[in-house]
Amino acid sequence: MMNRSLTRLLAAVCFVVPVAIAGETKEAVACGESIAFEVDPNVLLLSQAESALQSGKPRSAAIDALKVFPNIKSVKLGSSVLLPRAQRIVALAIVRTDGLLTAGKVFSASNADERRQNLEWATATLRRLSITKKNNPSADTDLGEALSCLPETQSEGLTVLDKLARKDLVTSAHGYAALARLRKAAGDEDGSAAALKKYEAIAKKNGGKKAPAVAAKKDGVFST
């Protein structure tokens, strides 16, 4: 039983959780984004990128987002209303590839240092978005997920996700997967199992069958 749970847990924490969570419309029912699609194709690109991210294709998501902001690391903050969306996509793509995102010269992961730098950028970016959005569980869940990647921030990640979970406000399956992993590492077996149960409840199924949580992790450098 324990082994089975552990297997599921490990599966949940690896690179990509090929599930989609957030609902997103390509064509709005009334107003909103669909108008902007016509006005600015970059909105469409970002929407596609979000869909890709939700469908477990972080690399594809990042590439689309980087088409809109090729120099995403150096773009002046506040220069575009689309920037926060693009930054979130790329940052989560990095987190969900465990830092192994390579995209031109902007992001490479040929060694452990670069991989760490990627994760540090992603964490810093999601932290800033979380601060900007203030009291936003979705942004905080993203941050918690990112914090779970690096050993030195895992304790903070556990605090962030725990606080959200107490109010039933973790907004993604990835967030619950990270929480399950962090609780497990902290010796909280019951809490880990509870988070895993929530993960399973909100992880998107494909064709009625729940998608496998993840493939095995390739590299344990940053795992707990």
Partner: protein, 460 residues
């Protein structure tokens, strides 16, 4: 707003970033500040044979007034027009009163673009006219069907010439369905008693004393005959008085109604809304009171107008029949998907007010970033993770929208049920009914939501 992004380096972008027009969040919380449409009337002095109008309107006023000892301030009321964003739904805000008021929207280009996208009805009108940009023609056609009954709202022009201050105060305190053929109704805004008084004082800075005639049954009967012969019932209902000759009794969702028919108020409330003398003038020369009214001018003498006004204020009315609150349906046994709810409700209705600023490229709507005088609640119903993010309570603390209310009903479902109660003339003091100011969801739609929540509100 200019959106400049970095130069392409390694990844080609076929669509270089260009200025982004605020697409905005269309705010569907539709207001129908009652009383702006057509006829009205005066309250009859005691001793006359007339009855009070409704039991809905004038009864709400004394309680509100009783708590106020400070004099109402019309100038403060003018500022409230902006605070409560009356312009999001109503035209004529700058012509509503004799009290000078700055334009509710600052005339800066940015503000004008924002306002343009935040005016619910203007947006709907442009969709109907085909001038609102949509991704493809089929989308426009679909939108047209959605907003067909959502393009009319009474303007506030000349409110000071038309209404009784007491009626405005009471109506804003407890809005009710005033116009039978209009789908939206005035929502209950978070107005304090002082704000209610100030806003009413702004809209009606001065009231002339009224001297309604002595009412007899014969005079009322004569007025009724004239009312029918002049064709008034072709637009107006007067509930509580039995069937009127020539009244087509069309409902709100029927097609082919004229602007005048859509906006025509139920005349049972007219005696609470207008003074006798105002009704007489209104019946004869409506545009002399409100230049943009849809009410047509019907040829008649002053004497005929007085007779009709006598009928309007003096007709004996049966009490308003309490509306039945729909029966809550049991949770379904079949699986209800998020996709189903998203297409049918969340991204069709809810997101007009509960969106995400980053996605709407404007603001998140009154139910998210605040508006209509409501504090920001941070609720985004336009995306699954937004729904899971919950909202903030009065203390600014986050809470899940699935958390149970005291009776065990999930908060999200409770808001939908509260709207049923509001439409039936009641109120749930624990939660505001949703959708705000819009027709309540059907029992079947509420059942879908309740089932999805009960099944674990998964993204599938």
């Amino acid at each position: 707003m200019t959106c400049r992004v970095g130069e392409p380096v390694l990844i080609a972008n076929p669509h270089p970033a260009k200025p982004i027009r605020l697409s905005g969040v269309l705010i569907l919380a539709l207001c129908t500040l009652g009383g702006m449409g057509a006829c009205g009337d005066a309250k009859v002095d005691s001793g006359a044979t007339s009855t009070s109008a409704s039991g809905v309107s004038s009864t709400a006023t004394p309680a509100v007034s009783a708590v106020n000892s400070q004099s109402p301030d019309p100038k403060r009321g003018a500022a409230l027009l902006t605070k409560f964003e009356c312009w999001r739904c109503h035209e004529g805000t700058t012509k509503a009163s004799t009290i000078p008021v700055a334009a509710p929207v600052e005339p800066t280009p940015e503000a004008m673009v924002k306002a343009d996208n935040q005016h619910c009805f203007d947006c709907h009108r442009r969709i109907i006219a085909g001038s609102y940009k949509a991704p493809k023609p089929s989308t426009t056609e679909r939108w047209k069907k959605n907003v067909e009954a959502l393009v009319h709202v009474p303007s506030l022009t000349g409110a000071h010439r038309r209404f009784k201050r007491s009626w405005i105060e009471g109506f804003l305190a407890k809005p009710h369905d005033l116009r039978p053929r209009l789908s939206p109704t005035m929502p209950k805004l978070p107005l304090s008693p002082t704000e209610l008084r100030d806003l009413a004082a702004f809209l009606v800075p001065e009231e002339k004393p009224s001297s309604p005639p002595t009412i007899t049954k014969a005079a009322v009967a004569e007025g009724r005959a004239l009312f029918e012969n002049k064709g008034c019932p072709s637009c107006h209902f007067m509930t509580g008085t039995g069937s009127l000759k020539g009244n087509p009794a069309k409902k709100a969702d029927e097609k082919g109604l004229s602007d005048a028919q859509r906006l025509a108020p139920d005349l049972r409330f007219a005696r609470d809304r207008m003074a006798f003398e105002t009704i007489v003038t209104w019946v004869r020369k409506p545009q002399s009171i409100k230049e943009d009214t849809a009410m047509p001018e019907t040829p008649m003498s002053e004497e005929e107008a007085q007779k009709i006004a006598t009928f309007i204020i003096g007709e004996e009315l049966s009490p308003i029949e309490p509306q039945k609150i729909p029966t809550r349906l049991p949770v379904l046994t079949r699986q209800v998907s998020y996709e189903e709810l998203k297409n049918k409700l969340f991204n069709k209705i809810c997101w007009h007010c509960h969106s995400d600023a980053d996605y709407a490229i404007g603001d998140g709507g009154p139910g998210n970033t605040g508006g209509f005088g409501f504090v920001p609640r941070g609720l985004n119903l336009a995306a699954y993770d937004g729904i899971l993010s919950g909202s903030t309570d009065d203390k600014g603390e986050l809470r899940s929208i699935f958390e149970p209310m005291p009776d065990g009903t999930p908060r999200l479902v409770a808001a939908l049920l509260a709207r049923w109660k509001e439409e039936a003339g009641g109120e749930d003091t624990n939660i505001r009914g949703m959708p705000l100011g819009m027709p309540a969801l059907s029992p079947e739609d509420v059942q879908l939501v309740e089932t999805w929540v009960a099944q674990g509100h998964s993204p599938d």
